[in-house]
């Protein structure tokens, strides 16, 4: 049945969007501005992993269709994205004592810089990771689900990271300090939390997750300089839908938006003459409708 297939596609695409959305939401909760360079952070992660995989190569056992070396490359990509983000934060955002809109404009400039550097370093063409191509899992094809083990890997890794983040936020000291700082930075500082360090860590985790999202986007689609920028709007829609500043909201929002995007063909199947060229439009309209009913998003509560 076609629906199952769309759902499967939706699961994979949502995984990528969830990773990106969480990162954006984390940064927002700490830095208090919408980071338009977030999309290009995904791009940086994807290219970082490309270089990493080229260097590391096809080593280690193959898990879920991907060589061990690739998983290491994913970590490399995440690390590169994290480093770039932290450096940017120190050099650019930290020193600015301007309001959210000023930081937003600055992040537009930063996005241009990331993209230009990627083009200068790698050219404008698209690249692919040198992992073996795959056919869909045979056992699932009869029920109409067409998914490769690599795509399953994307879902699994994303789920693991999301659960890991949840555990981090709930049960570790770092997580508690992050939540406290996001809630009320001044109060957190008064209680002895070194907010500067916590901010740094939040950027690291947020950008790192984005980097992983970028690698998987590159694996799922392809690696090219505008890949992050192209997905940025949809990630923003997901974050808004879920509620700005709420990590759990970002997860829900990312999941929903990814699903909506991949389920649009269903409309055509049901006879509604709205083609897939309207899929982003549908996602945005749904986002606005949700906001009409819940003006702070699904899980957004206080201005967190």
């Amino acid at each position: 049945m076609a629906v199952l297939e769309y759902l499967a596609n939706g699961l994979v695409f949502s995984s990528i969007i969830v990773l990106a959305s969480i990162g954006l939401s984390l940064v927002y909760s700490i830095a208090r501005f919408a980071n338009f360079a977030h999309g290009d952070t995904l791009t940086v992660g994807a290219y970082g992993a490309f270089v990493g995989f080229a260097l590391i190569g096809d080593v280690g056992p193959t898990v879920l269709g991907l060589p061990g070396g690739f998983y290491i490359a994913v970590a490399v990509g995440a690390a590169v994205a994290a480093v770039v983000a932290v450096v940017t934060q120190r050099l650019v955002y930290d020193a600015l004592e301007i309001g959210a809109i000023g930081l937003l404009i600055t992040s537009i400039g930063v996005a241009f810089v990331y993209r230009a550097l990627v083009i200068l370093g790698f050219g404008t063409g698209s690249l692919r990771y040198a992992v073996p191509a795959q056919r869909p899992i045979p056992a699932l094809v009869p029920i109409g689900v067409r998914i490769t083990t690599q795509e399953v890997a994307i879902i699994v890794v994303a789920t693991v990271l999301v659960i890991g983040l949840h555990l981090l936020l709930r049960f570790t000291l770092l997580g508690r300090m992050m939540r406290a700082t996001a809630d009320n930075a001044d109060l957190a500082q008064v209680t002895g939390i070194r907010t500067a360090q916590i901010t740094r860590w939040t950027w690291v985790i947020g950008a790192g997750l984005a980097g992983v999202g970028g690698v998987f986007l590159g694996l799922y689609n392809q690696v090219e300089p505008r890949m992050g920028f192209n997905i940025l709007l949809v990630v923003f829609a997901a974050v808004i839908l879920g509620g700005i500043g709420s990590v759990y909201g970002a997860m829900i929002g990312g999941f929903l938006i990814g699903m909506i995007d991949q389920l649009t063909p269903l409309l055509g199947d049901l006879g509604i003459p709205i083609g897939t060229e309207y899929s982003y439009a549908i996602a945005f309209v749904i986002m606005v409708l949700v906001l009409l009913v819940r003006p702070t998003g699904i899980a957004g509560g206080d201005p967190g």
Binding site: V92, T106, I108, I240, F284, V285, P295, T296
Partner: protein, 395 residues
């Protein structure tokens, strides 16, 4: 008149004086460049015309952001609605099969923008600022996608072309650009320097008339907006921006006022779109791409958010940044040998891929200006003081 100018200069703040000085220097350089034959007159007029468009957009955005504190990311959509509103009625290949006057196009563009602005404002204006930003961006994309795919109305990606000049049908002025002769200003050699040697042909006349249209539109809009700013309405808006709860506590209908500001700003953006359509003579759905919204925001912020003069200055700045970086490529030498291999190859890559370097330059410039002057180059100072208070102070 000069007495008022002298007084204005005397009371100008340091920021204003600096900006006036810079503008004066740049203006002088441009004139020298023109006379020396270094800058093509038609090209300069074209750039000024584009600046005019950005200025209108920036003023419109300033009404929404500077006055009412609304973070609106749908600028490109209203710009596009104005442009398409007039293009669908005046283009030679419009699927609607009509051929009306650009003035009708202007009215329709304004009405279209006003209606859509209301539709967008209703669900989004009650949202918090950052939600409004992304929601408005999303809805702008919806508008762009609809325009792109409703080919029966808009011709889709093929665009609408053959647009007439704005004044094309007007009595006397209409055919003037075709009837004016091409004027040649001969070269004048003063010692080692050759000056002039200009050819002023049709493109120059068209550029001049377009510039006059732009100046008229900007003047009207500027004066109207300034009037509103000083009116009780403007005062109320500023209060809402500063502290909406206070305004509501005072019994003011804040939602209504914000809606009015939003619609007014969007109408101004649509006017910019109409102007652009009859300047460029061609519209495509790509005119509504989000990147254009970002450029207008950069213009407003770099110019000085909340101030109309800042908006004007920002309009010039964004053109200077985007088009000026084109010329950097001509200025940089092709290779540089420093002896250090890494620097040499990096430089070679940068110089060879100049287009990517231009993107880098634009990004760095934005960051730099914000870093060095976060409040923008012409932040509102005098504008924040109520005029009556200022007169009392002088007396």
């Amino acid at each position: 008149m000069s007495a008022r100018a002298a007084q204005a200069f005397a009371t100008a703040s340091t920021a204003e004086r600096r900006v006036i000085a810079v503008l004066g220097v740049v203006g002088l350089l441009l004139i020298i460049g023109l006379l020396a034959g270094g800058i093509g007159p038609a090209y300069l007029l074209y750039l000024l015309g584009l600046s005019g468009m950005y200025i209108l957009l920036a003023i419109g955005l300033n009404v929404q952001w500077g006055y009412a504190g609304l973070i609106n990311f749908s600028v490109a959509a209203f710009f596009g609605l104005g442009a398409y509103g007039t293009a669908m009625l005046t283009a030679s290949n419009t699927p609607l099969g009509v051929s009306l006057s650009p003035l009708v196009g202007l009215v329709v563009g304004i009405l279209l923008a006003a209606v859509v602005a209301l539709l967008i404002a209703i669900p989004t204006l009650r949202l918090r600022a950052d939600y409004l930003a992304i929601a408005s961006l999303g809805l702008a994309e919806v508008i762009r996608i609809v325009i792109q795919n409703q080919r029966g109305l808009t011709n889709g990606n093929a665009g609408l072309r053959g647009l007439p000049l704005f004044y094309g049908e007007w009595p006397f002025i209409g055919g003037l650009v075709d009837r004016l002769p091409t004027v040649l200003i001969h070269e004048v050699t003063l010692g080692p320097v050759t000056l002039l040697g200009l050819r002023l042909g049709r493109s120059v006349w068209v550029g001049m008339f377009n510039l006059l249209i732009a100046i008229s539109l900007i003047a009207v809009v500027y004066l109207v907006v300034r009037r509103l700013h000083r009116s009780p309405w403007g005062r109320l808006l500023r209060t809402i921006r500063a502290d909406e709860d206070l305004a509501r506590a005072l019994g003011k209908r804040t939602y209504r006022r914000k809606m009015e500001a939003f619609v007014l700003g969007s109408v101004i953006m649509a006017i910019a779109g109409v102007y652009y359509a009859h300047l460029n003579l061609f519209v495509t759905p790509q005119n509504l791409a989000p990147i254009n919204t970002f450029y207008v925001w950069v213009a407003v912020i770099l110019g000085g958010a909340g101030s109309n003069r800042g908006a004007v200055f920002g309009g010039f700045m964004i053109i200077a940044i985007r088009e000026g970086t084109r010329f950097l490529g001509d200025l940089l030498p092709a290779t540089v040998t420093v002896g250090v291999d890494l620097i040499d190859t990096t430089y070679a890559t940068v110089a060879a891929n100049f287009a990517a370097t231009r993107l880098l330059a634009v990004g760095l410039l934005i960051i730099l200006v914000i870093r060095l002057r976060p409040e923008g180059l012409l932040p509102p100072e005098a504008e924040l003081i109520w005029p009556a208070a200022q007169e009392d102070a002088d007396a």
